[in-house]
């Protein structure tokens, strides 16, 4: 039952990924990779911004150290998300499942998982990640093989799918909680300033997201601390 709920919650992510990875498939083959190589990248990375940057480095013949550093910068936000998600896992999430499921801890999966009431377990998380993973790999294959066939008006419009999903996730808590409202507005304002003001042009997209998330969340935690949650005290093995 949890698995099925996860699958259902993951469906809009899967559809959004289908369109985003479709675009990646087209870009990868246009840059000179074979369709199989494009699919392998998506299969083993499952991340949009990191793959796009990685593709550019590969094609440009960059060094492996530069590749590693670029991925670290762009994808460091996942460490923050995994840290946050670690607080929501129930005891079905034993080490093997943690090792496997962390592979698919994308921005969208993380956000949907953190919106669940109470803890989440392996059933729900496998359901939640299966669809998006399949969509991500399938979309890449379709884009790499048949990218030229869809009219541009359709592929362009699909680009907003993922953001529509983000907006749908954040608006209900945004509407009902003033604290969330303040944190979101601070993050949005910072992100807009850092994107639009040329002075901050040297900050990569991935790093911008980390900075905005850390500053806005720290500000929120400092000025509007949440009540301490009970399960934090009940469980013995606490982290100081």
């Amino acid at each position: 039952m949890n698995y099925r709920k996860g699958l259902r919650d993951g469906l809009p992510i899967a559809l959004g990924y289908l369109s985003v990875s479709f675009a990646f498939g087209i870009q990868a083959t246009m840059a000179g990779l074979s369709p199989l190589q494009a699919v392998l990248i998506s299969f083993f990375n499952v991340t949009s911004a990191g793959q796009l940057a990685g593709l550019q480095l590969m094609v440009g013949g960059a060094g492996l150290a530069e590749m590693a550093l670029t991925q670290l910068t762009i994808n460091l936000r996942y460490a923050l998300m995994s840290l946050s998600l670690s607080q929501k896992l129930d005891n079905t999430m034993t080490t093997p499942h943690r090792l496997l499921l962390s592979f698919c801890n994308t921005d969208e999966v993380f956000v949907v998982a953190s919106q669940q009431k109470g803890k989440v377990g392996k059933g729900y998380l496998y359901g939640l990640t299966n669809g998006p993973f399949a969509g991500w790999v399938l979309g890449t294959a379709l884009g790499a093989l048949a990218g030229g066939l869809l009219p541009a008006a359709v592929t362009d419009a699909l680009g907003i799918a993922i953001y529509g999903m983000f907006i749908a996730i954040v608006l209900p808590p945004f509407r009902h909680s003033q604290e969330v409202r303040v944190v979101v507005l601070v993050a949005v304002a910072m992100s807009c300033v850092m994107t639009l003001v040329p002075l901050f042009g040297f900050i990569s997209d991935g790093f911008r997201i980390i900075l905005c998330a850390i500053v806005a969340s720290a500000l929120g935690a400092w000025l509007m601390p949440q009540p301490v949650r009970e399960e934090a005290i009940e469980e013995g093995e606490a982290l100081e």
Binding site: G54, S86, Y163, A213, P225, Q226
Partner: protein, 102 residues
Amino acid sequence: MMEWTSFWKYLLVMAGVTYLIRMLPLAAIRGRVRSRFLQSFLYYVPYAVLGAMTFPAVFGSTGNLWSAVAGTAAALALGWFGKGLLTVAAVACGVAFLVGLV
């Protein structure tokens, strides 16, 4: 065509770094964070991440500012009233598509 030997090296580094970043915190952290500050911080992180990822990037997501603005407005209106993720995403795409045709 990308040569396979160098492709595998790149892929290994890329995928390895990305996986470690995701896996280490999940595998290592078993206890509960007790500090009220940290708990609150982690509670706010998803919302802040979402806000920073959506704006202003959404306005460039369709390759046409006006179709993106229209799609965003539709998503904001439906999201405000708590419509489901799939509904909001689909309507945003539909509106962006129609405005893009104009």
